[in-house]
Subunit: 216 residues, 2 copies
């Protein structure tokens, strides 16, 4: 099973690494990081680069595609080379997936028209604007399209997908290996749970960043 | 605030990327991935490399050190260059931290003697053998030493540390940005919660891998 994880400048690293850590442990999985060209790709903080081992075109027919989000997504919304590859890859995939604002790239490629999907909580309107039916859920499955909410939701998405593809035992084994028994010190991970003033402050930062309007 | 995240061959990527994603968002944080030499460092799956931007010696006096775990940790337990750097860096740090079997490297450097600490659930005995008092908790703080359980626990560790260093509002804002509102599809992330036969199977795999005996 060929799995392609897409990288582009200013992606958010955890969006990509969360699913990678789960999906690469599926039996028979051959996971490859792909980008416009092979080599290091800088994440949004500029403090980290992940290596793409192949250019898009080298993986023409993956079984699974994972598209992470991040501030750099905005600059890729009319990147015809990426969008064409996404469309062609999607014609081959069993599963086409995204994390965070990666779903906006799927939408820009025309793959989410009329489909239920999700994205980072700050960008739900943007997802609607691009033709999807935005759903405030952590993982949304519509046909072969599996989209995750912001950043860390990619881990939950990948466990959900791994269970479907390889069975519950495999998914639970991956969860146990990764010791994914979350105990965050706060219950502030969603806009309905976090202190209201922090939600408001982030909404203002996001609005001020328009038209980039990306999730940080 | 200088933060050094250590890389070495066959580290586990999420161990490093989880804390990075939180800690790099602290005001004034200057986070650098460091390794034996600058350049790409391959993770345990061989499907991914992260770029180290500096050699150890270029960051002689960091304020925070983060040591990830992974199968490659075993081969580093007598790597005197790494261990010497850890001791020297620790003399400068405000916080010395680890994720997963990264704590075994701190222990090998002599930094956890008699201290409470944690590691991946498969390696708790090994941590005891190296002089620490192993505690089955997700995040253990003993003085300036903050150790996390397996892989994904690094996110919880980093949020805990960010709250201490930069305040609850900052930590909760990071959690909200990363949409860290975990909803795993199974409750199988710890050996006391996962199906017993899966726990047994992993213990057997780990035992068979001795003397490497690492967490996968």
């Amino acid at each position: 099973m060929q799995i392609a994880v897409v990288l582009y400048d200013r992606f958010t690293a955890l969006d990509a690494v969360g699913p990678y850590e789960v999906l690469s442990r599926m039996p028979g999985a051959e996971l490859t990081f792909v980008a416009a060209q092979a080599g290091p790709v800088r994440a949004d903080t500029d403090r980290l680069a992940l290596t793409a081992d192949a250019a898009f075109e080298e993986l023409a027919a993956p079984d699974v595609v994972v598209v992470p989000g991040g501030p750099g997504q905005m600059e890729r919304m009319d990147d015809e080379r990426l969008l064409s590859w996404l469309r062609a890859a999607d014609a081959a995939t069993t599963w086409t997936t995204s994390v965070c604002t990666g779903s906006l790239l799927l939408a820009a490629a025309g793959l989410l028209d009329g489909r239920r999907a999700t994205t980072h909580w700050l960008l739900m309107d943007e997802l609607e604007r691009h033709g999807a039916t935005a759903a405030s859920e952590r993982v949304v499955t519509d046909g072969k399209y599996v989209t995750a909410a912001g950043v860390s939701a990619g881990i939950d998405m990948a466990l959900t997908l791994a269970a479907t593809v390889a069975g519950d035992d495999l998914a639970q084994t991956a969860q146990l290996l990764l010791e994914y028994d979350p105990q965050p010190p706060f219950d502030a991970g969603s806009p309905v749970k976090a202190p209201a003033q922090l939600v408001t402050a982030l909404r203002e930062v996001s609005r001020a960043a328009q038209p980039q309007g990306h999730a940080p």
